[in-house]
Amino acid sequence: MDLRLMVDSLPQLLLGMLATLELVALSGALGVVLAVPVALARVSPRAWVRAAPLGYIFFLRGTPLLVQIFLVYYGLGQFETVRESVLWPVLREAYWCAIIAFTLNTSAYTAEILRGAIQAVPPGEVEAARALGMSHALTLRRVVLPRAVRMALPAYGNEVILMVKGSALASTITLLDLTGMARTIIAKTYKPLEIFLAAGLLYLLITLVITRLIRRAETHLSTTANPRPKGRP
């Protein structure tokens, strides 16, 4: 074991870790934005609205992330029309291709998590809101979504962790994320054990922090939403 090498590679690996965090944060945020309308469509009372996102979710959950990345990166680049379109400056960049693939992928999973949570909101609470005269939109905003988000949080924490690990696939399209950086260092040192071990520890650190953050968010949401009555045991 070459501990010296592990320490020497740390600055580069930290740069890679930063890239990984950026990829996950940006595609995670965009994924949530996309997931909300998809989830709402999935619980619509109208059958045709419910059916609309089915293909989207089916495709994105049913194919490997690697295949999706390759389809966006190498696949779209094959078409002359894509290369001449206004989208090419974006699709030309490996970074944006990764963001697009990760965003679509996570949005499908997040939408399903959110759908499950929305359907788990007790119907009595919705009826009570409607009985108070709240409109459909207001019920959604004030009652259904806040309740659903709280219930979805533990499952969403899992999704974020899976995304962190899935982001390693960005290294296959030339990005220097944590895995890409590790592989580039190994290409020069031929010491995969040390470098992958160091990279693995950094991934552990990321998931540890994310787990903590999600847990904190869970307690925060549950205490603010159900404040304990004061003065009683």
């Binding site: 190498y74 580039t184 190994i186 290409a187 020069k188 031929y190 995969p192």
Partner: protein, 252 residues
């Protein structure tokens, strides 16, 4: 508890045997190759390894009178897997470099290569360090082309790919302005349909790139047997016959 530790000891011992077992004369040799580097090594439609490297390796094994099996291994793990004992020799168009010499032993060369840029035919490309500054230039990761770019073209935007094929795909798609690679591999791609709009740019930037077989360190007998086999197939015409299947000129 005791049984468990015996079990682990047995597993460790078995692992050591597999990893440490040196190839003796009668043992079949396991040859590692990438299978993604046409025309030198590739996987054909039937899933079989083909190419110049594979043909040479088979000829060398015949000359050494040993049985050979082939193992396909991604390029950036090809030396670590050799060191881990997954196979006994790398025959995968590997250049002899000082860095690699720290990790493995090399035989004599079995062919010679050059590094040369390719780019779109209609592109005026100045291949000096200043000329490539700010341009997107690609190469395969963990190759001498990759390290050559990083060393000599600090101002170029160097992008490293898992396979040479992926670098060509991005060159064709216009994500790269130029690719630096082995001249013979580039030659093959330029002659393919995908490479029709592309051409060599400038003179080779690096010549006398010696391609050899890599072996784990500390096995001089095996190095010598490979060297003798290389000389033998050069002398008896087997080499020239294989060469002619791939290139109309001598690549030794």
């Amino acid at each position: 508890m005791h049984k468990l530790s015996t079990f682990f000891a047995a597993v460790v011992a078995a692992g050591l045997l597999v990893a440490g077992g040196p190839a003796k004369a009668a043992d079949p040799l396991r040859i590692g190759t990438e299978g993604a580097y046409p025309p030198f090594n590739l996987v054909d439609a039937n899933g079989e390894l083909q190419g110049f490297d594979v043909d040479i390796a088979k000829a060398l094994c015949a000359a050494m009178e040993v049985e050979c099996t082939f193992v396909k291994q991604d390029w950036d793990g090809i030396i670590p897997a050799l060191l881990a004992g997954k196979y006994d020799a790398i025959v995968a168009s590997m250049s002899i470099t000082e860095e690699r010499r720290q990790a493995v032993d090399f035989t004599e060369r079995y062919y010679t290569n050059k590094l040369r840029f390719i780019a779109r035919k209609d592109m005026q490309l100045d291949i000096s360090a200043a000329g490539l500054a700010g341009l997107d230039v690609g190469a395969q990761r963990a190759t001498i082309s990759g390290s050559f770019l990083e060393e000599h073209y600090p101002d170029a935007n160097v992008r490293l790919y898992d396979t040479q094929e992926n670098a060509y795909l991005d060159l064709a798609a216009g994500r790269l302005d130029a690719v630096l690679g082995d001249a013979l591999v580039n030659y093959e791609w330029l002659n393919s349909e995908a490479g029709a709009d592309f051409a060599f740019k400038g003179a080779p930037v690096f010549e006398g790139d010696l391609i050899a077989i890599a072996l784990r360190k500390g096995n001089p007998d095996l190095v010598e047997r490979f060297n003798a086999a290389i000389r033998q197939i050069r002398a008896d015409g087997t080499y020239q016959e294989i060469n002619a299947r791939y290139f109309p000129f001598d690549i030794y």
